[in-house]
């Protein structure tokens, strides 16, 4: 599904990703952990195609196609979704209108007609219920005045509506209380299927109690330096990252 090879990316001339390799197969959930500044958010932004980052080397292959040069909206149409760590506010555009525009843009790219208002309403209602979002919420301006938890629930709501092939959750757990965390995780788990995958970027092991990963990667200084199962996440939670740094030093 996703193959990242020797990926190097920089912003304003400063290299952040320094030869990153990652392969995600259909149906898998991968967790990416790492200390601040390791390049976690850069990784998600580069996969999504944010052009403030420059890819200097390496390839991103998605479903057999190199997507390095694709515009972010084209990547989205192909099924890549990113849940933002800091979702932006768009005043005057309601949650409903935004998701409508998003759904219909994707359909247009696939050569399909817009959903009828009835179909759209049904879809939105169903997914909103799953995220425990009420009607009032749906008619608020996008992310304006939302609490941290509401913002993240809205991200996962959009994901549930769009049903992406690859979902990247960029620190979706930050700022969530335990109830919101459960709702969000539930939304993600509901989407699980043999042909969908997810990359979960997080600081904390706590989210992984709810969204159980097949693999845990440690991202450090722009590279993936260690890969393991869920137990690796537990160890990181317990011991921090210093032992990884020690190991790296010893190996060098």
């Amino acid at each position: 599904m996703l193959k990242i090879k020797d990926l190097k990316a920089s912003i304003d001339g400063k290299e952040i990703l320094k030869g990153l390799n990652l392969e995600v197969k259909p149906g898998e959930v991968h967790a990416v952990m790492g200390p601040n500044g390791a390049g976690k958010s850069t990784l998600s932004a580069v996969i999504a195609g944010k052009d403030t980052f420059e890819v200097t080397e390496g390839t991103i292959e998605f479903q057999g196609e190199i997507i390095n040069e694709l515009a972010p909206e084209d990547r989205a149409h192909k099924g890549i979704f990113m849940s933002f760590q800091h979702p932006v506010e768009i005043p005057g555009v309601t949650v409903t209108n935004f998701i409508k525009a998003s759904v219909n843009a994707k359909r247009a790219a696939e050569g399909k007609e817009d959903l009828t208002p009835g179909e759209m309403l049904k879809l939105i209602k169903e997914k909103a219920a799953m995220l425990e979002l009420d009607r009032k919420f749906l008619s608020r301006s996008l992310n304006q005045g939302f609490s941290g938890g509401e913002k993240k629930r809205n991200e996962i709501f959009q994901m549930a509506v769009l049903e992406p092939t690859l979902a990247i959750l960029d620190e979706t757990d930050s700022g969530l209380d335990i109830d919101a965390l459960r709702i969000v995780a539930n939304g993600v788990n509901n989407l699980k299927s043999p042909n969908r995958s997810a990359i979960v970027i997080t600081h904390y092991q706590r989210l992984l109690d709810y969204i159980v990963p097949d693999f845990v990667h440690v991202l450090f200084e722009g590279r993936i330096v260690k890969t393991g199962g869920k137990e690796l996440a537990m160890k990181l939670e317990e011991k921090g990252y210093d032992w990884i740094k020690e190991e790296l030093k010893a190996n060098n």
Partner: protein
């Protein structure tokens, strides 16, 4: 978005063509250029006007000659050569229409290209809208006149009203905007040729939207229309005007006067979708839109101005309300979009004379390209106006870094019991907003349209429903290719 990309998107957006720039090949009866007493007499004679009106015009002309073109607005343009304009142009022959069959097919075609139906059977989105069509200097057709007449509503061109209801016209013409109010109102009073007249009798709620569509067609002409709307006690009416003009390299002058009178408990909602030719991308041509619009609201009456301004090379316009009676309400909702080299200086005046009067001003300015967009507004509370309240909100949205947004709020509160609030914001469409939309599959152009419509929502929501969708599309077209 990276700089390079931003430039590309701006280019694309600004490259969209003005849809209404065509010219109708129709024979016209057009006066030679120039302005003099003789020209005014000729206009008056052509329109078979009564003596009092000719006198009124000539007095206005005398006053105008002593006045100077205003230069205080934040706009920069060459002073029009008033002797290089033709002051009367009418599609020939002046149609005396009984049914559609008698309308010149060229005209029918023109208005169908503009999306205006002259056919009373064809209703816009299922809702009946009565339309008065003004092409260059004359009204060519008013629909639904008979239906309205049954309710006692008078809706016709002002030329007809002068003949059929001289007492009403004479009483109210110039009562809200005095002849000498300003340079352009004086000019308009001297040379106005047509416009709409509307009277809603006491207690009548107008059953349909009334609308006037203004079209400039001939080159070298100016359009000086005059609109007068009177809502008698307890009457209610919603009125909409739309405007377009062909694409020309010359600047054309449009100097209108609109007067609204809302008697006790009456309500007038006046909406404008202004889409005069804005000039080329390089700033060549376009309409100079110098308009005086004012309303008087008597006791407990309500005036609501809504405007969507996307056209014209230069706009100078302040739809205002005199809150004369106690408890009167004035509202002003505006979206002004400027792109390329357009300049707009627009806003409102709320003059509080009565007690417990209330006004609301919501102004949304969107500037792109190399345009300049100014809000200018006055809130004035007279010494005797107790407990007057005003709320003003002026938001500006900038696209790119070569345009300008300016806010000039003036507040004169002479009564200490008044309560005035003013809020202003300036924002830009951020790269993060665009990337967020892109990531959700929405391309940059659509994202801009979405964000702009969101920005203007409070105002768009005030438009009659049939026109809200139209206005949204217009915003998108005006900004096509404009952002970063």
């Amino acid at each position: 978005m990276a700089k390079k990309e931003e430039g590309k998107v701006i280019d694309e957006l600004t490259s969209s063509e003005y849809k209404y720039g065509f010219v109708t090949e129709i024979e016209s009866d057009t006066f030679a250029k120039g302005l003099s007493e003789d020209v005014i007499k000729a206009i008056s004679a052509k329109k078979e006007e009564p003596e009092w009106l000719l006198e009124w015009r000539l007095n206005a002309y005398k006053a105008w000659k002593t006045m100077e073109e205003p230069n205080w607005a934040h706009v920069d343009y060459p002073t029009p050569d008033f002797q290089d304009i033709s002051y009367y142009s009418a599609p020939k022959p002046k149609p005396e229409l009984e049914s559609l069959d008698e309308v010149d097919p060229e005209l029918l075609d023109t208005f169908s290209r503009l999306g205006i139906s002259l056919d009373e059977q064809k209703r816009l989105s299922g809702v009946a809208v009565a339309v008065d069509i003004v092409m260059d200097s004359v009204s060519v057709k008013t629909t639904f006149k008979d239906t309205l007449a049954k309710k006692g509503i008078i809706f016709m061109s002002i030329s007809e009203a002068i003949k059929e209801h001289p007492e009403l016209v004479r009483k109210h013409l110039g009562s809200v905007v005095p002849v000498k109010d300003n340079f352009y109102s004086a000019l308009n009073s001297a040379v106005f040729t047509d416009g709409s007249f509307c009277y809603i009798p006491e207690g009548v709620l107008c059953p349909m939207e009334l609308s006037t569509y203004f079209r400039i067609n001939e080159s070298g002409t100016g359009q000086f229309e005059r609109t007068l709307v009177i809502a008698d006690k307890g009457a209610r009416v919603s009125y909409l005007e739309g405007c377009t003009a062909p694409q020309r390299d010359e600047n054309q002058l449009h100097a209108a006067v609109v007067e609204l009178i809302a008697l006790e408990d009456a309500e007038i909602k006046y909406s404008t979708v202004q889409n005069w030719y804005p000039g080329s991308k390089e700033g060549k041509g376009g309409v100079f839109n110098f308009v005086t619009k004012r309303a008087v609201a008597e006791k407990n009456a309500k005036i609501s101005w809504t405007q969507v301004e996307t056209g014209s090379a230069v706009t100078w316009k302040y739809p205002s309300t005199v809150l004369k009676g106690d408890g009167a309400i004035g509202e002003f909702y505006s979206i002004a979009v400027t792109n390329n080299f357009q300049q707009a200086d627009t806003g409102t005046k709320m003059i509080h004379l009565g007690n417990n009067t209330k006004s609301t001003i919501i102004s949304k300015g969107i500037s792109a390209g190399k345009s300049q967009n100014s809000y200018r507004g006055l809130v004035k509370i007279a010494p005797n106006a107790k407990n007057a309240r005003n709320f003003s909100q002026c938001d500006s949205l900038l696209m790119g870094d070569t345009c300008g947004a300016h806010t000039f709020p003036y507040i004169e509160a002479k009564n200490s019991s008044s309560h005035i609030e003013h809020e202003a914001t300036t924002s830009k469409i951020s790269e993060d907003q665009l990337f967020y939309c892109n990531q959700r599959g929405i391309d940059t152009e659509k994202a801009v349209a979405l964000i702009v419509n969101g920005f203007g929502k409070e105002v768009l929501n005030k438009l009659p429903m049939e026109f809200a969708v139209e206005a949204q599309k217009l915003l998108e077209i005006s900004l096509e290719g404009s952002v970063g």
